[in-house]
Amino acid sequence: MKHQMPESHSTHPNVVPLIDIIMCLIIFYMLIAKIGVDTGEDETIKLPFGRLGKEIKSMDKSLLVNVKEVNGQPEISAMIDSTSGKGRENLFLEGGGSGRRFVDVLKKLRKDFGDDFKLIVRGDQDMTFSVLQQVLLSAAQANVKSLNFQTTTKQAPAGSEG
């Protein structure tokens, strides 16, 4: 008895392997990609390398502040209310600027969230401690109990230090 491939199969391309691969890719992206999570991170900041430390899964009751050094002074920005749609705003150490005072923001959040409030510092690896110190002092003034320093597990290529 002679078997013959149906004519329809011989004329259509077989898309089953294509769909298999695409489905695998979709599942991969759905599992790995972070979608719709915006904590106000400044992507231009070069994080210091650190393999140790904890993972923070939930960003509830926390504020992520971007800190970098500009002309020897700290430049602080944060997205204080992610639901407002305002995005990141600059915060100031001293009053009288066009924005809010950093310490006032911390005090308000500390009052709202209590001891569970976490301050996450996303600092530029090249800033000096004199800049970081001012952020730490503001946190101390606001009685923030938990400080977290964000690091990256990706090592910067050799010779990239400024």
Binding site: A33, L52, L136, L137, A140, K145, N148
Partner: protein, 161 residues
């Protein structure tokens, strides 16, 4: 005019996969464009209040400052490099510093201090870069992790000037 010998094609046979492929492709492109990728981040946690000294100051509850903390002073003799001092130890390398801090912790444990009561303060100079501060911090964390006797408390002291 119908040509003789032309193949008869059965387009109706089998399910039509085109809409499925369309939807799946749209999903794939959406995820590729919207998703954020990158190396996972870690967080070095400090749950001790900053201790003040010198001109920089902050109100700190005196009860929260330990009586005999380990204070690691960090200086930066060259840009991007650090030297750490604690008592008699000196180190400019994170791995070496970690081993020496482990020795300090062991000495504290031998003296009867519980692991959870050991408190380490990092006191960097004003010109020390943040990545060097993180190096010192990581060295202390790894020293405590190697001992496998729990975690220690790590905090900061403000520098003079």
């Amino acid at each position: 005019m119908k040509m003789k010998g032309a193949k008869k094609v059965h387009y109706e046979s089998g399910p039509d996969m085109t809409p499925l492929v369309d939807v799946v492709m749209v999903l794939l492109i959406f995820l590729m464009l919207v998703g954020k990728f990158g190396a996972p981040n870690r967080y070095l946690v400090s749950d001790m209040p900053i201790s003040s000294s010198g001109a920089a100051s902050a109100p700190v509850d005196p009860n929260e400052i330990p009586k005999e903390p380990v204070v690691i002073t960090v200086t930066s003799p060259y840009k991007g490099k650090f030297t750490a001092f604690a008592g008699t130890i000196t180190s400019s390398d994170p791995a070496d510093l970690s081993a020496k801090v482990e020795g300090l912790i062991k000495a504290k444990l031998a003296a009867g201090t519980a692991m959870k009561d050991i408190q380490v303060y990092i006191k960097p100079a004003r010109n020390v870069r943040y990545n060097n501060v993180v190096d010192v911090y990581s060295a202390i964390v790894s020293a405590a992790e190697r001992l496998q006797k729990g975690t220690i408390k790590i905090g900061f002291q403000t520098s003079e000037g």
